[in-house]
């Protein structure tokens, strides 16, 4: 009797578990993802999830290839020109795209979107700092005037923060591109729940920290995407993403750890997409002797770099690579693994002795107690501790809560630490954050211009003004050589991006600017 009750219960549970899984006509893609959305409003949002959704729902004036950020391609702008003084850009617009309400894209929409981004003072507004004015010309072109020369301006326009919105719709919902937009713009709420763009999809709803739903843009003029609906489901736990993928509840899991990826490798129902990642892991050394102590000495900087067991990190994180410098490896001209430093303990010890530390020294390593996109920073910190001990540097691990550690780092009060970086601008100029005068080198690590040799300052100033690609490449080569020899960073690991997909899902490609383009993804028909 009891056995039969148990049997009935088991059958009932199996039936219940199968409810709702019945085939449906709609083609739905379910993405399991750790949501980081701040806003979907182009002028206010600046996270990975935001970029992914904006790529699907909006277009920008220019764009990158589907696979990478190797070149600039036309998008809403069919062509552009720059004035001789480098301060004025003129864009000719494509007249075929339609917003999701059917409206055409006008020069007024473009000018409005750029100025709203600048004046709303949202998270990505720093990208538009340099815009002095944006003018809709009578001939339908747009002129953007800059306050200073910025060779990377067009590259930056491919950032989805520069998405072109329908000015009439945004204005009707409280938006403004006025100089007082920071106080008076009220369109963020609307744009967090709706989109007003020309992309293949439109935003149907966003339940923060739960689910984002995209549906087809009925007025999209390009090739229709395969899926009718895209669900981006917030699954913060990697183990849960893995379980949901294995059972077929989701089609794509974006945040699995390297260990979980290895576990899935024999599973016939799942494919692994693997490619270059976005995050460069490095040690930071404060140039202020009062804060950095022994690690404020340039000789120690190189000694630390030469003490790291780079090969060991590659074994620890399969699929990773060793970064050549702090310049992210997918940026044009970045040193790859073949130009990375190698471990040289003898030279490291000799440098420490030259710096006055023949017996090494004791130091705290400060870092966030954080799992950085599948890489546990504690594990790396322990290996750094072991590696540096061989050179005589006795590291005391001092992990901190993320917000607390970030605040100390941000204020420039961390002496010796471990952080990571993903570029905001997909241009080699991003590396200038790590040279004296740059955001990280100077503001976080007090490597001020006064402390820096003239040589690197000249290189930095030259590359900021240079627009000739060959000359730029030469300058970035010299900057990277200087960073390897004299910078106050020790990059040691560049983990890959690995995404797990249900078999049959094709067209997926991780992208450094917009994570993935959901409009390119399809499911093989049975």
């Amino acid at each position: 009797m009891r056995k039969s009750i148990l049997f009935v219960l088991a059958v009932a549970l199996v039936l219940l578990a199968g409810f709702g899984a019945a085939a449906q006509d709609e083609k739905v893609l379910v993405i399991g993802h750790t949501e980081q959305t701040d806003f979907y409003d182009p002028a206010n949002g600046f996270t990975g999830t935001t970029s992914m959704v904006r790529r699907a729902t909006y277009d920008t004036l220019v764009t990158f290839p589907d696979e990478d950020a190797s070149e600039i391609l036309p998008s809403l702008a069919t062509s552009w020109s720059v004035s001789d003084d480098g301060l004025s850009y003129n864009f000719t617009l494509d007249d075929t795209p339609r917003f999701n309400n059917g409206d055409s894209v006008t020069a007024e929409d473009v000018a409005f979107s750029l100025l709203r981004l600048k004046y709303v003072n949202g998270n990505p507004s720093f990208l538009a700092d340099n815009i002095d004015s944006a003018v809709a010309n009578e001939d339908g072109t747009v002129t953007v005037n800059l306050s200073s020369v910025r060779p990377t301006f067009v590259t930056e326009l491919a950032n989805t923060a520069f998405s072109i919105t329908n000015a009439d719709v945004v204005r009707a919902n409280g938006g403004t591109d006025g100089m007082d937009a920071a106080e008076t713009d009220g369109a963020a709420d609307y744009l967090n729940q709706n989109s007003a763009g020309t992309g293949p999809y439109q935003l149907e709803s966003w339940a923060p920290q739960d689910e984002t739903v995209l549906v087809r843009n009925p007025h999209y003029v390009g090739d229709a995407p395969y899926f009718d609906r895209i669900l981006i489901v917030n699954i913060p736990e990697a183990a849960t993403q893995k379980a949901a993928l294995e059972s077929g509840q989701i089609d794509i899991a974006t945040d699995l750890t390297p260990d979980q990826i290895v576990e899935l490798e024999g599973n016939m129902d799942i494919n692994i997409w693997s490619g270059p990642g976005q995050w460069n892991h490095f040690l930071i050394m404060n140039a202020d002797p009062e804060i950095g102590g022994p690690v404020s000495d340039p000789k120690v900087w190189l000694a630390v770099r030469l003490a790291i067991d780079y090969e060991g990190f590659l074994e620890l994180w399969p699929g990773s690579t060793t970064p050549g410098t702090v310049m992210n490896i997918f940026l044009a001209g970045a040193f790859q693994a073949d130009r990375a430093l190698s471990r040289d303990l003898d030279r490291s010890r000799a440098l420490l002795a030259e710096a006055g530390y023949p017996d090494g020294f004791d130091i705290d390593l400060k870092y966030p107690d954080w799992n950085a996109f599948g890489v546990d920073m504690n594990i790396n910190a322990q290996k750094i501790q072991a590696d540096l001990a061989e050179a005589g540097i006795r590291v005391n691990l001092a992990p901190g809560e993320f917000g607390v550690a970030l605040e100390e780092y941000r204020l420039g009060n961390a002496g010796f630490g471990y952080w990571l970086w993903g570029p905001d601008i997909n241009d080699p100029v991003d590396v200038l954050a790590f040279v004296p005068g740059g955001k990280v080198a100077t503001e976080r690590l007090r490597f001020t211009e006064e402390r820096a040799p003239a040589e690197i300052l000249e290189l930095r100033d030259a590359v900021k003004q240079e627009s000739d690609p060959m000359r730029r490449a030469e300058l970035f080569e010299q900057i990277q050589l200087w960073l390897q020899e004299s910078g106050n960073f020790a990059p040691f690991l560049y983990p890959p991006t690995q995404t797990a997909l249900r078999s049959g899902i094709s067209g997926y490609n991780w992208h450094p600017q917009w994570v993935m383009d959901v409009a390119l993804i399809s499911r093989d028909e049975m």
Partner: protein, 339 residues
Amino acid sequence: MPLQVFFLRRLLLTIPLLVGITLFSFIIANAVPSDPVSANIPQNAFDNEEIIAAFRAKWGLDKPPHEQYLTYLGNLLRGDLGVSIKTSKPVLEDIRQFLPATVELAGFAILIGMALGIGTGIVSAVWRNSIADYLTRGYVVIGVSFPIFVLALIGLNVLHVQWGIVAGPGRLDFIIRDPPAVTGLFMVDAAIAGQWDKFANAFSHIILPAFVLGSFVAGIIARITRSSMLEVLGMDYIRTARSHGLRERRVVIRHALSNAMIPIVTVIGLSTANLMTGAVLIESIFAWPGIGRYAFRAATSQDFPAIMGVSILIASIYVMVNFLVDILYYFLDPRIRVA
């Protein structure tokens, strides 16, 4: 003491408690040595004074702490909990979005916990030192000490992924649309709409997380039930009841259990409040969009309005549950009515 006076006195005591909670949360949230700016603004915008100033002005962080607190209290009196920095929505709206998921899960879990806990506790006490008692005591030790997230992951991987007998993460299969919102409790809403396939799907999703949460609670309830029942079963009036020839079932349920209920009700009350507010791990593992996960995210991103809103909510839940427990005492124990 008349019920109305008892009720009123309890209600009045909650007001200073809630104000104290807001002050305490505010001080703790401000004492953390990190800044909401670092938690919410991209690194490249850190040196843009205009963006930082706009952020501080927007969230009132440019005002002195006491002014921030008084403004908050003033708004609170008007029922305004502020706007969450992370979701950009009113905190009250966020709570309305996330709380029903937690209520549904915790409600189911406490039902499972009560059924398992009280049942095994009675069996264990009535047949003391029997195999059933030893099994129950073993279960209690395992239930209370076994890490809940391990149980959850084992359940997810074995019962969902390997055997496929229960549904996986989420409140429904992700491709299924939510039932029309009435209460926010999916099973109730699906039943109201007559969408029985969604009702069944929601049930198949809740059963595993509720069982994991409930099994932990069941351990505690079983332990208290057993000890309380053992104490009562040794009382003279139980012996008297038996000597009057009453059937054992009547003796145990009517005379022993009803008198052993006070500590059991206390534990059930506290467990309910705990489940409503502390299911962060289970909500994370089962991708359950509840208030625990919301609170965790608020705390890690220094989302002051959300932290304060959740603190008030948690305090209110504890107050309400304690209040209900007190009312139950009033009915269960005549001595309280006299005191």
